[in-house]
């Protein structure tokens, strides 16, 4: 965690931001594969089923293809933001010039 009086190291700060960006893009790829991968099979197959299959009143494909990923994404976001992301000292504002 950064000390608010710490001097800003622009280069180090930039590289840390870039690293975090890579984590976020990788996270998106993971959830894309899960949600679209599962739903593109189960969700479209559900159109041909005579009876709707449900879990807790939710169509089964929505439950496993959206609600569970939503829960996992919540847990991951809490972990990433509170444990993985680093704080950086903030720049002093320069004089206002339009």
């Amino acid at each position: 965690m950064a000390d608010s009086n710490q001097r800003v190291d622009t280069g180090a700060s930039f590289r840390q931001c870039l690293l975090e960006l890579k984590w976020m893009v990788a996270t998106w790829v993971f959830f894309f594969a899960w949600v679209i991968g599962y739903s593109s099979v189960a969700g479209y197959a559900a159109a041909e089923q005579a009876e709707v299959q449900m879990v807790w009143g939710i169509p089964r494909w929505v439950f496993f293809g959206w609600l569970i990923p939503l829960g996992v994404a919540n847990v991951f976001t809490v972990w990433f933001c509170l444990c993985k992301m680093q704080d950086e000292p903030m720049e002093e504002l320069p004089e206002d010039t339009p």
């Binding site: 800003v8 622009t10 280069g11 976020m24 949600v35 969700g43 089923q49 959206w66 903030m90 206002d96």
Partner: protein
């Protein structure tokens, strides 16, 4: 008589709630304007002195994001297409992390280092090119205006339903209709005076408090509005689930439903008869019953021929037992004499006609597309669209410039994640229940949210609650409109006026920013006198255009030291142009404004790909960036500027 009394009570309660809500908003604007005293006008009025804490930053981000689209357009789509909307919105599970996290920290750092107040200003200073700022300003104003338009329509629609049964409102509506009917363009027999009245009141109130209070007022009202939205959704969820008999029951009923048909009823009457929008007709044969619902207010006149007058309707060809019960309850309350009619079918859904299960599966029913509402490839596109288009929105970027430190950012992402989960999942449940409780709203699906609020609260014996529930979508709309107006105001004042008049006094800058807010509000009001049917199409075009123009140039500007002014401008223009061109092709092919999936892909994907490709290509063939700017924003590696 009982129903009329209940509706009047609900209407009066809604009016009282609305007045209280508006009073609080104006009180916050007044407090914000007092807080501004003694501070730098530009920094305080447009960025709240860059001092937003966790609650303020998180709520203002969430409330700006949850717009009229979330509370009007999205419910309309859930109602129209069913559970497939969970897949359509699935990208939201990662929106807070990606849309807020991808660029926030870096954007805030670059904005502080350059002392920028607006996105075009930051781009101009980071790249050392006034031309970049000018191109960014033009694209921002153009696409953001479409986004703003949709919010004006949503605001007016909510107010129309909210005040529909209030005596004063009805009298004013009739008076406006009598004035407007003879006029060209907006006149005619179907003119809705209530809509115009509400559009005017909405525009005046939101423009006034935004201009008065500035960024801080917008943030404070966003906090209140964000809380109102959450409370409203939770109450609606409880009422909907109770009245529908549980979620499993609602899903089972929805699974049995088939999409409606479009058609006309030919009616023969002896005297002129007014039919209100939403009036039901029933046709009972030996085999089955069919219901028809009037699409818009219509006057039927006696005709000499044998065909009779035509009334546009939707037809429910195979209503379920739940739909029959709900419709017959509504028919018991309508006061229309029996009129003989003949039904003529005009069109059917291209996907899902007569097919059960389409509302609980993908791709969902579609009246326009034979492959259904959401083919797999479009589901993929939307999964990319929501988080990355969110990153590319200048209205969010303005907020990302304003948080005070990175602790605030980290905690806010967690808060927004939980907040969105508590908003979007319940909305899908609520409006799935809506299909069962209020059938036939395909005639004007954008009204389903306010109609549900009125229906659920009246049924629960608490019509006064309608005011609170309707405050939720109204809050969502207001919180977006105020942010967009401020974005216009800051961009035009800072990037256009102040560039030409760098020595302008604070008093002059204040006047210019107020004037811009008012002018943009008036322009949006005039444009929405003839609104399009689906709000969501305007929102997706506006947000898609902004993301197409800004996402890649801003991401590259923040993370790629080699990016130069020529490549940035080329990236912005090519992205914006691509999305505009694809929508135009769609307009020619389909004859209506809406997403056109070129080769099955969402226009946003094409536009972002073109923008990225053009930016990278132009960098290869143009002058490198000024090394001093690279060192200023990227630091040094081994004593030399970082070159990426």
């Amino acid at each position: 008589m009982m129903l009329a009394a209940t509706e009047a009570t609900a209407g009066n309660a809604a009016l009282v709630s609305f007045c209280i809500y508006t009073a609080v908003v104006f009180a916050l604007a007044w407090l914000a304007s007092r807080k501004r005293t003694g501070k730098s006008f530009m920094n305080e009025y447009f960025l709240g002195s860059r001092n937003l804490g966790m609650w303020a930053f998180a709520f203002t981000y969430a409330a700006t994001s949850a717009s009229g689209g979330s509370f009007m357009g999205f419910p309309a789509k859930i109602y129209t297409y069913g559970w497939v909307m969970a897949l359509w919105i699935a990208g939201y599970i990662i929106v807070p992390l990606v849309a807020m996290g991808l660029i926030s920290k870096r954007l805030n750092q670059v904005a502080r280092k350059s002392g920028s107040i607006t996105v075009p200003e930051m781009m101009r200073k980071r790249l050392g090119s006034p031309n970049v700022g000018q191109v960014a300003t033009v694209l921002l104003v153009f696409f953001q205006f479409f986004f703003l338009l949709a919010q004006f329509k949503a605001g007016a629609k909510i107010m129309t339903t909210l005040l529909g049964d209030v005596g004063v409102f009805i009298a004013a509506k009739d008076a406006i209709e009598s004035v407007l009917q003879p006029l060209p363009w907006i006149g005619g027999s179907g003119v809705d005076g209530g809509y115009y009245l509400c559009l005017g009141v909405f525009a005046v109130s939101v423009v006034a408090y935004t201009a008065w209070g500035g960024f801080r007022a917008v943030v404070w009202t966003d906090m209140m509005q964000g809380a109102v939205m959450l409370v409203g959704v939770v109450i609606l969820l409880g009422l909907a689930l109770t009245q529908v008999g549980g979620l499993a029951n609602a899903t089972r009923e929805v699974a049995k439903m088939v999409p409606p048909e479009d058609g006309v009823l030919r009616m023969k009457v002896n005297a002129k008869t007014k039919l209100s929008q939403g009036t039901w007709f029933k046709l009972q044969t030996d085999e089955r019953v069919k219901f028809f619902r009037v699409k818009k207010d219509t006057e039927v006149s006696p005709t000499k021929g044998s065909a009779g007058d035509e009334v546009d309707v939707i037809c429910l060809p195979q209503p379920t037992d739940a739909e029959v019960n709900a419709i017959e309850k509504q028919m018991g309350q309508q006061s229309v004499a029996t009129i003989p009619f003949v039904y003529q079918k005009e069109s059917d859904y291209k996907y899902g006609a007569g097919k059960q299960g389409v509302y609980v599966s993908a791709p969902g029913p579609s009246s326009a597309e034979a492959q259904g509402f959401l083919p797999v490839i479009m589901a993929m596109c939307f999964f990319a669209f929501w988080p990355f288009a969110g990153s590319g929105q200048p209205s969010y970027m303005a907020r990302q410039m304003a948080f005070k430190d990175t602790v605030t950012l980290r905690r806010s992402i967690v808060f927004v994640m939980i907040y969105f989960s508590l908003i979007y999942f319940p909305l899908i449940i609520i409006f799935t229940c809506g299909r069962v409780l209020l059938p036939g709203w395909e005639i004007d699906s954008d009204r389903i949210m306010p109609e549900m609020a009125m229906f659920l609260t009246s049924n629960a014996g608490a019509p006064w609650l309608a005011g609170l529930l309707l405050a939720a979508p109204f809050a969502a709309v207001m919180s977006s409109v105020d942010s967009f107006l401020l974005l216009f105001s800051s961009t035009i004042t800072r990037d256009v006026y102040q560039q030409k008049h760098p020595d302008a006094s604070e008093a002059k800058l204040k006047k210019v920013s107020f004037a811009v807010t008012i002018i943009m509000g008036v322009m949006a009001l005039v444009a929405m006198l003839k609104p399009p049917q689906f709000l969501q199409d305007l929102i997706v075009f506006g947000s898609g255009g902004l993301a197409a123009s800004f996402l890649m140039p801003v991401v590259l500007m923040l993370y790629w030291p080699r990016l130069n002014p020529a490549a940035t401008m080329a990236g912005m223009v090519s992205g914006g142009f691509t999305i505009g061109a694809i929508y135009l092709v769609g307009l020619f092919v389909h004859g209506k404004f809406g997403e056109f999936p070129l080769l099955g892909l969402h226009p946003f994907i094409w536009a972002v790909a073109v923008s990225a490709l053009v930016s990278v290509m132009v960098v290869r063939f143009t002058k490198p960036t000024d090394p001093e700017l690279v060192e200023k924003y990227f630091g040094k590696v081994d004593g030399r500027p970082e070159i990426g």
